[in-house]
C-alpha cells in the first residue's frame, strides 16, 4: 500500500487549546480596560502601551537569541501579555526610558533569568512594576489630571488616587465616588481605571475557560470580608459597606485579582490551593493598604504569595477519586 502508517501512543486527539490561544484570549480580555484608559487619558495610553509591549518582546527576542541561543519563543505571545500588564501598571505620563527599564527588569530579570515562560517564580510584570515603584517613586505615583475624551461626567482627584487620598486623610471612603471608580473616571495607573472593564475581561476569560473563578473570587472576597470586619471593629456606620466597596474598586484590586494573581506560572495547581493563595493575597493587600507605608499593597501581596506557591503545591493535593466512599 502507498500509505505511510504513523504510530504513536494514545490519545490520538488533542484539544484546540495551545499556549498561544490562551495568551491570545488574555490579550482580548485586556482590551476593554485599554479602551477605557485611552478614552480617559487620551493617546498617551496607546503610546505607553506600545513602548511597553515592543520593549518586552524585543528583550525576550534578544535574550532568547543571543544568551539562551534557543528557538524563538515570541509565538507563545506571553511577552505581549507581560508588556500589556506592565503598561497597565504605569501612569499614562511616564517617561519612555522608565518603561524600557521596566521591560528589561520584567522580561530580562524576572522571566528569562529563570529559563523563560513556565519557569519564573514571580509574576514578571509585577516584578517590573515594583522595581520601578521603588526606583522611580515620584514618576510612578504622579498621575496626570484627567482630560477625558468623553466629557462632563468626570470627578477628578487632580493627581492623587483615591487610595493615596484616603491614606493621607484627605478623603473619607464614605465620600469617595464609587460610581466613577467603577466606571473608570478616577485617576490612577492606566489599566486600573475601570473596575467594570476589568470585570468584563474577567468574565470573558471565565467564559473561554482561560481561568477558573477560584483566584479572583478568593482575592476579592477576602478583601471585602477583611474590610467589612475592620469597619465593624471601628464602629460600623456608613463605612460598613463603603469600606469594602471602596477597596474592591480602588487601585489594583480588580487588575490584580483578575489578571495578575491568575498568572498560570506563578499560581497554585489545585482549586483548594488557589483559594488559599487568593485569600493570602486579599489579606496581605488589606493589611498594607490599611496599616502599611504604601497606599496600595496588591503588587506586594501577589509577589509574596507567588513565593508561597511552590509550598502550596507541595502540600495541597486534589481530592483523590474513591477516598470519600472509603471513609464511610
Amino acid at each position: 500500500m502507498a500509505n505511510k502508517f504513523i504510530i504513536a501512543t494514545a490519545p490520538h486527539m488533542h484539544s484546540p487549546l495551545s499556549t498561544q490561544s490562551l495568551m491570545r484570549d488574555v490579550i482580548v480580555a485586556l482590551m476593554p480596560a485599554l479602551v477605557v484608559s485611552a478614552l480617559v487619558y487620551g493617546l498617551s495610553v496607546l503610546y505607553v502601551t506600545a513602548i511597553a509591549v515592543v520593549s518586552c518582546v524585543l528583550v525576550e527576542f534578544l535574550i532568547q537569541k543571543y544568551l539562551i541561543k534557543g528557538a524563538s519563543t515570541l509565538g507563545n505571545l506571553s511577552a505581549v501579555v507581560t508588556g500589556l500588564l506592565l503598561a497597565f501598571n504605569l501612569p499614562a505620563n511616564i517617561p519612555w526610558w522608565i518603561i524600557v527599564i521596566g521591560a528589561v527588569v520584567a522580561i530580562g530579570v524576572a522571566k528569562m533569568t529563570f529559563g523563560g515562560l513556565g519557569h519564573n517564580p514571580f509574576n514578571p510584570a509585577l516584578v517590573g512594576r515594583v522595581f520601578l515603584l521603588i526606583a522611580y517613586p515620584v514618576q510612578m505615583t504622579s498621575f496626570p489630571e484627567i482630560e477625558p475624551v468623553v466629557g462632563g461626567i468626570v470627578d477628578t482627584f487632580s493627581g492623587a488616587t483615591p487610595l493615596a487620598a484616603v491614606k493621607s486623610g484627605a478623603l473619607s471612603v464614605v465620600d469617595a465616588n464609587l460610581g466613577s471608580m467603577f466606571g473608570g473616571f478616577t485617576g490612577g495607573s492606566m489599566g486600573e481605571l475601570s473596575a467594570a472593564a476589568l470585570l468584563a475581561g474577567g468574565l470573558y476569560m471565565l467564559w473561554r475557560r482561560v481561568i477558573t473563578w477560584h483566584i479572583p473570587v478568593a482575592v476579592l472576597g477576602s478583601m471585602a470580608a477583611f474590610a467589612f470586619i475592620v469597619a465593624l471593629m471601628q464602629g460600623g456606620g456608613a463605612e460598613l459597606y463603603a469600606l469594602p466597596a471602596f477597596h474592591l474598586f480602588a487601585g489594583g484590586a480588580m487588575l490584580g485579582a483578575i489578571f495578575m494573581a491568575t498568572d498560570y506560572v506563578t499560581s497554585p495547581m489545585t482549586p483548594k490551593g488557589m483559594l488559599i493563595y487568593g485569600v493570602g493575597i486579599g489579606v496581605i493587600t488589606m493589611v498594607i493598604r490599611l496599616w502599611g507605608a504604601y497606599p496600595e499593597g496588591m503588587s506586594f501581596a501577589i509577589l509574596l504569595m507567588n513565593a508561597v506557591t511552590p509550598l502550596i503545591n507541595k502540600y495541597v493535593k486534589p481530592r483523590r477519586f474513591g477516598v470519600i466512599t472509603a471513609k464511610k
Partner: protein, 451 residues
C-alpha cells in the same frame, strides 16, 4: 443529569459519520487469523493442529486456567497453521490460521432470529455457559466475563451496570447494537442479573444517543423488563468502569487494589450483554462482533458485523479504502485506541472500532514548556496531578511517583488531550505507572517469599 464527580474533558465526539449507518454484515473472509491471546489473562491453548477441519463455532483453543478465555472458529474450513504471525503492532504472536470452505455451523447453534426470553438455568449454569462461549468484555478491556461474574468471597453484588456510554469519540458500535438489537440485549441483561443474583440493573447511556435511550426505554416498557435506563451527561471518560459506577450510583470505588465489587457493582459492556444472550439462549459462542470503521476522510463510514479474525484491511476496503498520504489507523477510539502498522492483522474480541486519521490529525501537536496552567489537574478524573507525575517520571523518581498515587491512573488520556503545551503527559505517566507497578509487585513477591 448525572455524571462522574471529578475531572473529565469534552472532545468533539465525531460520531455523526457513522451513528446513522445501520449494521451491515461483512462478507466472509477467505482466511482468518485467530490470536490465542486476545483477552486479559493467560493466552488460550490451541486444541487444533494443521490440517484439522473445523466448523463455525467449534472450540479451537481452550482457556488456560481461570483467568483466560475459550476461542472458537469464526468460519468453517481447514486449519493451515498454528504459528507466530505479526499482530497489529507488527509483533509476532501465536495465531491459528484457518482457510475458509463454505460456512457450516456447529449443529447445536440456534441461528434463527426468534427472540428467546425464558431462561431456566441457574446462576452457576449461566456462568458456565458464558465461560464456554469465550465471552470477554467487548468494550475494549477484554476482561473475561465469567471471571467478572464470579463474585469473590465476602463480597456481594447489589447492582448490575450495563455500559452503553461509548464515551470514546468516533465509535458507534455499541450505539447501533443498542438500537438494532435492543430486545435481545435486554434479555442478555436479565440473564446477567440472574447470574449475579441482583435485583437492580441500570443501563448507563450518554445523552448524545437519544434514539438508543428512547428505543431501549420503549422496549423495557412494552415487554416489561425490570431494567432501568439512565441517561448521562456527555463527558469523557464516563465509560471508565469507576467513572460509570460513580455516575450511576454515586458510589466511588476506593483506590487500588479495591475492585468495583467492593461497592457492590458489576459493570458489563452493552455489546457483551448481547453476546451473553446469544451464548446462553442460542448456544452461539463469541465469533462475531460489530466494528465501526470511521474517520474524517473515510469515504463510507460504517458499522460492520464482522467475524473474528477477519483482516482489518477487508473492513477498510468496505469503508472505501484508506485516504491518500500519511495515515494513522487506530484499533479502538482516538482517546485510548492503539495505532497499528499492520492492517492485515485480524479483528479480535476487543475491537470495537477502527478509526482512521489523516492529514494534520496523524501527528501530535508541537511540544512547548509547561506553563502550569493546571488544566491537566482539573481534567484528571482520578484526582491526580499529571504535570507532577510527568516531571517525576522524567527524573525516574519512582518512589515519589508511588506517593503521588500513580497506580490510580486509568490512562484515559484526558491530561494529554487538554495540555495546551502539547506535552505527552500520558507517555511519561504510563512509563512511570508500569515501572512503579513492577516495583510494587516485586515488593509483594519478596514479602511473600519471606513468610
Amino acid at each position: 443529569m448525572k455524571t462522574f464527580p471529578i475531572g473529565g474533558v469534552h472532545p468533539s465526539d465525531n460520531k455523526k459519520w457513522s451513528c446513522n449507518k445501520a449494521i451491515e454484515t461483512l462478507a466472509l473472509p477467505d482466511v482468518v487469523n485467530i490470536p490465542l491471546g486476545q483477552h486479559i489473562g493467560a493466552p488460550a491453548t490451541a486444541k487444533v493442529a494443521k490440517g484439522d477441519k473445523v466448523l463455525t463455532g467449534q472450540l479451537i483453543a481452550e482457556a488456560t486456567g481461570f483467568m483466560s478465555a475459550n476461542i472458537h472458529s469464526p468460519i468453517s474450513g481447514t486449519v493451515t497453521a498454528v504459528d507466530l504471525q505479526p499482530n497489529a503492532q507488527g509483533l509476532r504472536q501465536m495465531m491459528i490460521t484457518i482457510k475458509r470452505e463454505g460456512d457450516e455451523w456447529m449443529p447445536e447453534i440456534d441461528r434463527t432470529a426468534e427472540v428467546k426470553r425464558e431462561c431456566e438455568l441457574d446462576s452457576a449454569a449461566i456462568i458456565a455457559k458464558i465461560k464456554d462461549a469465550g465471552i470477554v468484555g467487548m468494550g475494549g478491556a477484554t476482561f473475561p466475563t465469567h471471571v467478572k461474574l464470579s463474585i469473590p468471597n465476602g463480597c456481594k453484588a447489589e447492582f448490575l451496570i450495563i455500559n452503553g456510554v461509548e464515551c470514546e469519540p468516533y465509535l458507534t458500535s455499541d450505539h447501533r447494537t443498542m438500537l438494532e438489537r435492543g430486545e435481545e440485549l435486554l434479555v442478555g441483561v436479565e440473564i446477567l442479573k440472574k447470574a449475579l443474583g441482583v435485583e437492580k440493573a441500570i443501563i448507563g447511556v450518554e445523552n448524545n444517543k437519544p434514539d438508543a435511550i428512547a428505543s431501549l426505554t420503549k422496549i423495557i416498557k412494552e415487554k416489561k423488563f425490570a431494567i432501568e435506563v439512565e441517561p448521562l451527561k456527555v463527558q469523557y471518560p464516563q465509560g471508565g468502569e469507576k467513572q460509570l459506577i460513580a455516575a450511576v450510583t454515586g458510589r466511588e470505588v476506593p483506590p487500588p487494589p479495591a475492585l468495583p465489587i467492593h461497592v457492590g457493582a458489576v459493570v458489563c459492556n452493552a455489546s457483551t450483554a448481547l453476546a451473553v444472550y446469544e451464548a446462553v439462549q442460542k448456544n452461539k459462542p463469541l465469533i462475531e462482533r460489530v466494528v465501526t470503521v470511521t474517520g474524517k476522510d473515510v469515504k463510507n463510514p460504517c458499522n460492520l458485523l464482522t467475524r473474528m479474525g477477519t483482516p482489518i484491511s477487508q473492513l477498510l476496503e468496505m469503508a472505501g479504502g484508506l485516504p491518500e498520504g500519511d495515515v494513522k489507523v487506530v484499533n479502538g477510539g482516538p482517546m485510548m485506541g492503539r495505532a497499528m502498522v499492520n492492517v492485515d492483522s485480524p479483528v479480535t474480541k476487543g475491537c470495537s472500532g477502527i478509526t482512521v486519521f489523516s492529514g494534520d490529525e496523524v501527528r501530535r501537536v508541537p511540544t512547548s514548556e509547561c506553563i502550569k496552567c493546571a488544566k491537566c489537574v482539573a481534567a484528571c478524573p482520578m484526582g491526580l496531578e499529571p504535570y507532577l507525575l510527568q516531571r517525576l517520571a522524567a527524573k525516574q523518581m519512582w518512589d515519589e511517583m508511588e506517593v503521588e498515587r500513580i497506580p490510580d491512573c486509568i490512562e484515559c488520556g484526558c491530561c494529554q488531550y487538554t495540555c495546551p503545551a502539547g506535552i505527552a503527559l500520558l507517555d511519561y505517566v504510563r512509563l512511570g505507572k508500569q515501572t512503579v507497578m513492577g516495583i510494587i509487585r516485586a515488593r509483594a513477591a519478596a514479602a511473600a517469599a519471606k513468610k
